[in-house]
């Protein structure tokens, strides 16, 4: 469990990181918190020829309110989100600290980064689920400057995103608050990757659900929305029967993998259980 040989470069600014990426070519990888990348390198599942270390770029570690939404610097730590207490930041984003507590253990949360998690695109990652839930926009900086990538279509496959090899995420924007949001997970141990995770958000207007998001984690190659369940919720009164029906739909449309921690059938069962919980909790906040 020693990594293959690689060259190491420490970037002093985001711009320098981008130019190093361009210079070093496609086999270079950014190193932020290293909580996934380094383990993969030690197993030799990842063999980057070069690492560009951006972990000390203080300029990218922030969480800011902006025009009703939230702007999260790529190097904001999981712990920064977990400890979000400023009411100005927290309003409508209470799901973020709730989700952060599910991420690994204290030591992991104190090193891993928000942007790193989005770029890594693990299908069970809480921040990838949050990105879908909040219609996030990823700010990517490359040799030609910055572009803003909408979350729809950003997660392309297992550990695969719409980022180009010479681009880095500098910021993730959550354009609008979602007070009615919640995340529920099930894992065998505290801090493990979820066997199944479900995040839900609902916007209620009068008694009627105007908009809904149901996001599944850990059940496919990428995080994904459960469109059928969302459709069932929209326009409904969010009563118990509707929530149960939406939860059933969330499970029905999936083909989760089976492994030593549970069969596909068990995971589908968990999706239904957790979706009902998450939607119910979200509706309670809305």
């Amino acid at each position: 469990m020693k990594p293959a040989s690689f060259s190491y470069h420490r970037a002093r600014s985001a711009d320098e990181a981008v130019s190093l990426l361009a210079e070093l070519g496609d086999d270079a990888k950014l190193l932020a918190g290293g909580q996934s990348l380094v383990a993969m390198m030690n197993f030799r599942l990842a063999r980057p020829a070069a690492l560009v270390d951006i972990s000390r770029l203080a300029e990218l570690r922030y969480v800011r309110a902006h025009d009703g939404g939230l702007r999260i610097g790529a190097l904001a730590l999981h712990r920064d989100l977990e400890r979000l207490t400023d009411p100005g930041l927290l309003a409508g984003f209470g799901m973020l600290p709730q989700a952060a507590r599910y991420i690994g253990h204290y030591a992991i949360r104190a090193a891993g980064t928000f942007g790193g998690s989005i770029a890594h695109a693990d299908p069970a990652a809480e921040w990838c689920m949050a990105a879908l839930l909040f219609d996030a926009q990823m700010v990517a900086r490359g040799p030609g400057g910055e572009r803003v990538i909408p979350v729809a279509g950003f997660f392309k496959g297992f550990l695969e995103t719409g980022l180009r090899p010479d681009e880095m995420i500098t910021e993730v924007r959550l354009p609008a608050p979602r007070p009615g949001a919640a995340i529920c997970e099930f894992a065998r141990r505290h801090g493990d990757f979820a066997i199944v995770a479900v995040a839900a958000a609902v916007d209620r207007d009068g008694g009627v659900c105007r908009d809904a998001r149901v996001v599944l984690g850990g059940v496919a190659g990428t995080v994904d929305r459960a469109a059928g369940a969302e459709a069932t919720l929209i326009g409904s009164s969010l009563d118990a029967d509707v929530i149960a029906a939406a939860a059933r739909q969330a499970a029905a449309g999936t083909d989760p993998p089976g492994d030593i921690h549970g069969s596909a059938e068990y995971r589908r069962h968990l999706i239904q259980v957790l979706a009902a919980r998450a939607i119910g909790e979200a509706a309670g906040h809305a």
């Binding site: 469990m1 020693k2 197993f43 030799r44 065998r188 141990r189 505290h190 030593i260 549970g262 259980v273």
Partner: protein
């Protein structure tokens, strides 16, 4: 050569427990005080010295090319690309190890088939992870690079991935010597007439229980550093082991050397749990290569190797039948046991270790009058097994305690009633059980009664019903067991191993300033012997435990001993320390008597002084006696002084700790998840030398037992490929997954040891799987479901609940028709 002696010499009791001022033994005795561990300050502040910390200049790093198929002929090994990598010194294969004998664990009994475990596989691999070639390079990184370049050509053969497959007709043979894959078939003399007893019994209950394969996963993996000393011609092997002398024996045998030509040193060791009480082929390999290349060679197991190639344990299947009379008394026990022992037999205890232990100790704390058992060890193409804390008893207790719960239901006596009726009563000790073991006195019924009381067993039905009304499924489970510990040579001799452990030796030596060095053949690797042995010595010599240091783990330094395993050290090692201390105390009294012109019998040693009993004014400091013995021996008659030292041995006849464990769980009816709400232990290990260390042993064992009950399993696919090769999939519980442990003690001193102490290092892990499984089944019984396998995965619980619900519905439908 630098100072290689094992571990720093630590003074015990430097920081006494709250309320115990230094230098004063409250109540006149250090034994029984919860002294803080002398080892902890340096270990917890990162000042420990483990083998991995050692790296003499010029060290070559060893990495292994391991098989990635479970069963294959090795057709070719091509190391040319690896050898051309700069920094690679050598690639060693079996062909380079001519004259190095395989490890051969043998039981000299007809029902055992002996097989060899080669140091490197030559023409055949039998499990994934089996070492084929060793790469030696200037750094561990380069060594791993080179491993990737060694090309092995495999001719794949059919793999036997489970015990069931291995026993099927026509199954491939893992070893030619055992065509049916049965390496041990143990059927001790059954009680005559057992079938008749079952035929006429008022109640016959059954249990069928199995447990998944696990591994000890010590915090420090296996590590060794081998060097060749040109001055002495010795191979010096520093290794993370529990048994330095046994490693010396194995290396000497394998390398064809006399034992004095091999020096084994073991500095700080970060846990072993039995995995390091057998000899690893990597240890022999490193020694062989150091001798071959005349270089220092270092191997550090990584966690992936540890979880795939490190010794494993506990994959067992039990089918039990119990016959009970109308009053709930057990009349007979009939058992069939299968142990999946993997591909090889470990040295020296062999692959029979689980098989024999399971059969011999199944009756446990109960009055089992008639018994029939067949216990088999079955070879598969999986990693070999070795002892792991509790050795088979966690599974044997799991099976017996499931049977007892079933008997409680069948007889209407309930879980506590049926156990109480069958537990051996205080009046019956010493008790000779059906297998011939002689139990010393314990508190079997008392511990059950106290545990049940602490858990609120009497009110439990009402408490459970209230929870059920709130939609919660709660359960209470119990497990009673006896923990045979500290086997002596007589017990070990009956196993018929080629080497017979059991006795222990210790030297207690006082220096001229009155401080003491203890040299012990046991090998503390987390048990705190520097503290507990010091407490024993301090009481015997009347000195502060802070003046006692322990040296261990160096075959050149300490008397021959068997190391630390099988809960033997405080009994066997502590017994030897107590005896040697008593001898030394006698010497001190004689010197004092001479100097004080008193009779030795009138002198006592206490508070650092030798004094005439009842006359504190007449006293001499013990330090003065020590100075005289060394520096002024001319003042003493011949035969006194000229050094102060005693060596003694102790060969225990076996001690039997006992305990009842109780668990309260809550099972989620929607996810199948199990949450432990309470965990209660009531145990009796006789005199506790240090109650804090006893509690630590209980807590650590319970954590491992809960790991086996709910979380940990090494899984393999149908081709024998391991699929839990990292801590992402091999789920060792963390503190967040465990409840507070409520630990209570009873004390029945044993007359069989000098201190009255019994061994107790394994009990925690023995009781926990059964207590948890019974608790989960108590919860599930409310919905007509049950589970009979550990680890209890949420998915299995959910499947059981779903199956029960659907059979309920179909029953309803039938009724409706």
């Amino acid at each position: 050569m630098p100072d290689l002696t094992g571990g720093p010499a630590v003074a015990a009791g430097a920081a006494p427990a709250v309320g115990a001022p230094p230098g004063t033994a409250p109540a006149g005795r250090w034994i029984g005080q919860p002294l803080r561990r002398a080892e902890d300050r340096y270990l917890l502040t990162g000042r420990g010295r483990f083998v991995g910390d050692l790296e003499p200049s010029g060290t070559l790093h060893l990495a292994l090319v391991r098989s990635y198929v479970a069963s294959a002929a090795i057709e070719a090994v091509d190391a040319s690309a690896a050898l051309s990598l700069p920094g690679v010194a050598a690639v060693i294969t079996a062909a380079d190890l001519a004259g190095v004998a395989p490890l051969r664990g043998v039981l000299d009994r007809p029902e055992f088939v002996a097989t060899d475990m080669p140091i490197l596989a030559a023409d055949r691999v039998r499990h994934v992870g089996e070492p084929i070639a060793a790469v030696l390079a200037e750094s561990a990184y380069l060594a791993e690079d080179a491993v990737e370049l060694v090309e092995v050509t495999y001719g794949e053969l059919p793999a036997v991935a489970s015990a069931g497959e291995a026993l099927a007709p026509g199954a491939a043979a893992v070893h030619e010597a055992a065509p049916g894959n049965v390496l041990v078939d143990f059927t001790p003399m059954p009680t005559p007439g057992l079938d008749g007893i079952f035929a006429s019994a008022a109640h016959v209950v059954e249990a069928e229980v199995s447990s998944g394969r696990v591994t000890a996963a010590p915090m420090e993996g296996r590590v060794c550093l081998a060097a060749f000393d040109e001055r002495t011609g010795q191979v010096v092997l520093q290794t993370s082991t529990q048994v330095p002398h046994t490693v010396r024996t194995a290396v000497a045998l394998s390398l064809g050397m006399d034992e004095h030509q091999v020096r084994v040193i073991s500095p700080d060791v970060g846990g072993g749990f039995g995995q390091k009480c057998v000899v690893a082929r990597e240890e022999v390999l490193a020694a062989a290569i150091a001798r071959l290349l005349r270089r220092t060679v270092k191997w550090v197991e990584d966690r992936r190797e540890g979880l795939t190639a490190g010794f494993q344990a506990r994959e067992q299947f039990y089918r039990l039948r119990g016959a009970f009379d109308a009053d709930g008394r057990m009349l007979g026990l009939d058992a069939d046991i299968r142990c999946d022992v993997g591909a090889y037999s470990c040295y020296p205890v062999t692959c029979g270790v689980e098989v024999l232990m399971a059969a011999n100790e199944l009756p446990g704390p109960y009055r089992v009058q008639s018994y029939r058992v067949r216990s088999r060890g079955i070879a598969t193409n999986k990693t070999p097994i070795a002892p792991y804390r509790g050795v088979s008893r966690p599974q044997a207790v799991l099976a017996m305690e499931r049977l007892m719960d079933e008997a409680g239901r069948a007889t209407g006596l309930g879980a506590v009633g049926v156990r109480d009726r069958n537990l051996i009563d205080a009046s019956e000790f010493p008790y000779r059980n059906v297998m011939g073991a002689s139990y010393d006195a314990g508190t079997y019924r008392e511990s059950l009664a106290q545990c049940a009381e602490l858990l609120g067993y009497g009110d439990w039905p009402a408490v459970q019903a209230r929870a059920r009304a709130e939609g919660r499924l709660t359960g209470l489970g119990l497990a009673c067991f006896v923990e045979p510990t500290a086997y002596g040579t007589a017990s070990f001799g009956m196993r018929k191993m080629t080497i017979v452990p059991g006795y222990e030796q210790a030297t207690v030596r006082m220096d001229p300033s009155g401080s003491v060095i203890v040299l012990a053949g046991t090998h503390s690797h987390g048990q705190g012997h520097a503290t507990t042995y010091a407490q024993i010595v301090a009481d015997a010599l009347g000195i502060d435990p802070g003046r006692v240091r322990l040296r261990q783990g160096d075959t050149e330094l300490v008397p021959h001993g068997w190391g630390t395993f099988a809960s033997r050290s405080i009994v066997a090692g502590g017994g030897a320390v107590a005896r040697a201390s008593a001898d030394l105390a006698g010497q001190l009294r004689e010197i004092a008597a001479h100097l004080m012109e008193a009779a030795p019998a009138d002198l006592e040693l206490a508070g650092g002084m030798a004094q005439v009993r009842g006359d504190p004014a007449t006293s001499v400091p013990i330090g003065e006696l020590a100075r005289t013995a060394h520096h002024a021996a001319h003042l003493l008659p011949d035969g006194l002084g000229r050094g102060l030292e005693a060596t003694a041995s102790f060969d225990p006849e076996g001690t039997f700790s006992n305990a009842t464990h109780g668990a309260v769980v809550e099972v989620s009816p929607s996810t199948g998840g199990v949450r432990l709400a309470r965990y209660v232990v009531v145990e009796d290990c006789g005199v506790m030398i240090n109650p804090m260390i006893v509690d630590g042993q209980v807590a650590g064992g319970v954590a491992q037992g809960i790991g086996a009950a709910l979380f940990e399993e090494l899984c393999f696919d149908e081709s024998g490929q391991p699929v839990s090769g990292s801590f992402v999939d091999y789920l060792v519980p963390t503190a967040a997954d465990l409840p507070e442990f409520e630990i209570h003690h009873l004390c029945t001193p044993t007359p069989r040891t000098p201190t009255g102490s019994k061994g107790m290092g394994e009990g925690g892990s023995i009781g926990a799987p059964a207590a948890v499984l019974n608790a989960v089944n108590d919860a599930l019984a409310q919905v007509g479901a049950h589970v009979e396998r550990v680890p209890i995965r949420p998915a299995d619980v959910m499947a059981a609940i779903t199956a029960a619900a659907s059979s309920d519905q179909s029953a309803d439908r039938k009724e409706a028709k």
